[in-house]
């Protein structure tokens, strides 16, 4: 059995990666404090419930990334000859499914409350010997839950782009987008305080809608990864031109008549195949030539993990040939 050689990040990326891991631990800790804080003042509010669920499930990308870091370090072995690069995708898919389901549940729940005209009761708590309306504490917790991710989100995004880490990028984007839901919940609570019974459930429904959206976007990303979609530039919907670049690079070799490449994303790295039609007269030393070409492809981009080169007879599309 031929087991893949282990993948190693280039030293500068390795450093960036470590920085990102440290950042993710911080993120996880701060996020936990948000979930705890919101959980303490949850009360009866529908909007609070929705915001809380969003933040609680929002923990999964961080956890998924940190857990998968452990796995990803493992070298390919006999049982998993392709390695563990895709461990993060599994966790990512689970989080996306959970987010979508909870989003739908909350949407139905909030809409029912709205249709049935149920009033939201927000009680009071004893704080330093004073009876305080719980709504104020809810708002304080929500503002904390808005400000912290907004700051972390920016740092995460920068780190994620440096090492093409999709899980972290999605996490960062969600953090940054969450401020709207947090503020929606604040408006809901203030609305209840102003005597509008529908404010809370309406805010809850709005947040639930955004939870659904987050879920579906992540679901599409995860599904794309599992279906071996062609590489995309991180954080965009545009395909990466890397496939064509490598084809051009290979075609430029004097012994190559034509070349076609296909690549897929495996977490943050890329693998795939290159089909090469040797030029007439170069068929004899093809083994050495392919080894050289493989070296060339591997050094073309740091994200290339393994591209298998395959000599084929001329059956390629004419535009790919010289």
């Amino acid at each position: 059995m031929r087991i893949r050689p282990p993948y190693r990040l280039p030293p500068d990326r390795e450093q960036a990666f470590r920085r990102m891991v440290r950042l993710e631990w911080w993120t996880l800790g701060l996020r936990l404090s948000i979930v705890l804080g919101l959980g303490l003042v949850l009360g009866n509010s529908q909007a609070m419930k929705a915001a809380w669920v969003e933040d609680a499930i929002g923990l999964t990308p961080s956890i998924a990334f940190l857990v998968s870091c452990r796995w990803r370090k493992r070298d390919p072995d006999r049982d998993f000859p392709y390695g563990y690069q895709r461990a993060a995708v599994i966790a990512f898919l689970c989080a996306a499914v959970a987010l979508s389901l909870f989003g739908v549940f909350l949407l139905v729940d909030s809409s029912l409350k709205l249709l049935q005209g149920e009033y939201t009761t927000i009680g009071s708590v004893m704080l330093f010997g004073e009876i305080v309306w719980l709504g104020w504490l809810m708002i304080a917790a929500l503002l904390y839950s808005v400000v912290v991710p907004l700051v972390i989100g920016h740092l995460q995004e920068r780190a994620a782009r440096a090492v093409h880490e999709k899980t972290v990028l999605v996490d960062a984007r969600m953090s940054k987008a969450d401020w709207t839901t947090g503020l929606a919940a604040v408006v809901g609570i203030l609305g209840v305080g102003a005597g509008f019974w529908w404010a809370d459930a309406a805010a809850g429904a709005l947040i639930a809608f955004s939870v659904c959206k987050d879920g579906f976007v992540n679901l599409r990303e995860a599904a794309g990864d599992l279906l071996d979609r062609r590489p995309h530039r991180i954080g965009t919907r545009e395909p990466d031109s890397l496939t064509e670049d490598i084809e051009r690079e290979l075609c430029a070799l004097d012994w190559v008549f034509a070349a076609e490449v296909r690549l897929r994303e495996e977490g943050s790295v890329l693998s795939g195949e290159a089909f090469i039609v040797p030029a007439r007269g170069h068929e004899r030393d093809i083994v050495e030539r392919l080894a050289e070409a493989e070296q060339l492809v591997r050094e073309f981009d740091w994200r290339i993990y393994e591209v298998v080169l395959m000599p084929v007879q001329s059956e390629l599309r004419p535009e790919r040939s010289r």
């Binding site: 009033y119 009761t121 009071s124 708590v125 004893m126 305080g193 005597g195 509008f196």
Partner: protein
């Protein structure tokens, strides 16, 4: 003379919000406004010594608390006797403003009606006549308890033999701590559960609920009041 600087109109919404905050939160149905200087409609269910039905009208520890609340709001109290079920229905329909009757917090009531904060907590204990020896364990021991009391199940779980009798003068008695003390009994070292007393309130009336919570928090002498009410 320099021109008088105009009030920055951009600050006007802020000012409005700040003014509104003085009476924040507000009620959905305006209960606090209705009650202030008006009528306080109170639902009652009998449960001595919290709420008692006497020939001269309602009496009891909670009835006193309600009267004090009404006095603070310059409101006239109207009493309505009913079962807890009736009272909950009336609260949901916003026909009454408050329901009392030694009611304890229960998870099944959540989301149906609003409740006040827990304003009185007490432990269920077993009281022994003074001078008797308190046993090491309750296992196999007969303990008197009323049949509606949750403590009966707890006693069974502890291996004791609950005796559901109206009067059993020779037996140790299970009941809340204040009652055991009021009867001059000595509490044993076991706790059979906690009682968390609340008032029932109409849902969504957040300003009114806050007002009631503040009123209830001012009374720290409830154990003493209960003891006085229990003594003949």
């Amino acid at each position: 003379m320099p021109p008088c600087p105009a009030f920055p109109s951009r600050l006007l919404p802020l000012l409005v919000v700040l003014l509104a905050a003085c009476r924040f939160p507000q009620d959905t149905e305006g209960t606090l406004e209705q009650v202030s200087g008006g009528r306080l409609e109170v639902g009652l269910t009998e449960n001595p010594p919290w709420v008692m039905r006497t020939p001269t009208g309602p009496a009891g520890v909670e009835v006193e608390l309600v009267r004090e609340l009404a006095a603070g709001l310059d409101a006239e109290v109207r009493w309505h006797w009913g079962t807890e079920g009736n009272l909950v229905e009336a609260l949901r329909a916003h026909r009454i403003h408050l329901a009392v009757g030694g009611i304890e917090d229960a998870p099944w009531r959540r989301g149906v009606v609003a409740t006040s904060r827990v304003f009185f907590r007490d432990l269920d204990v077993v009281g022994f006549a003074p001078g008797t020896v308190v046993p090491e364990s309750l296992a196999g021991r007969p303990v008197a308890v009323t049949i509606l009391d949750r403590a009966g199940r707890e006693l069974e779980a502890m291996g004791a033999r609950p005796v559901y009798a109206q009067a059993a003068p020779d037996l140790p008695v299970a009941g809340p701590m204040w009652q055991v003390r009021a009867r001059g009994l000595v509490p044993g070292p076991w706790t059979l559960g906690e009682r968390r007393h609340v008032w029932l309130l109409p849902p969504g009336e957040n300003g009114w609920i806050l007002h009631v919570d503040r009123h209830l928090a001012r009374h720290s002498d409830l154990a003493e009041r209960l003891r006085r009410a229990e003594r003949p």
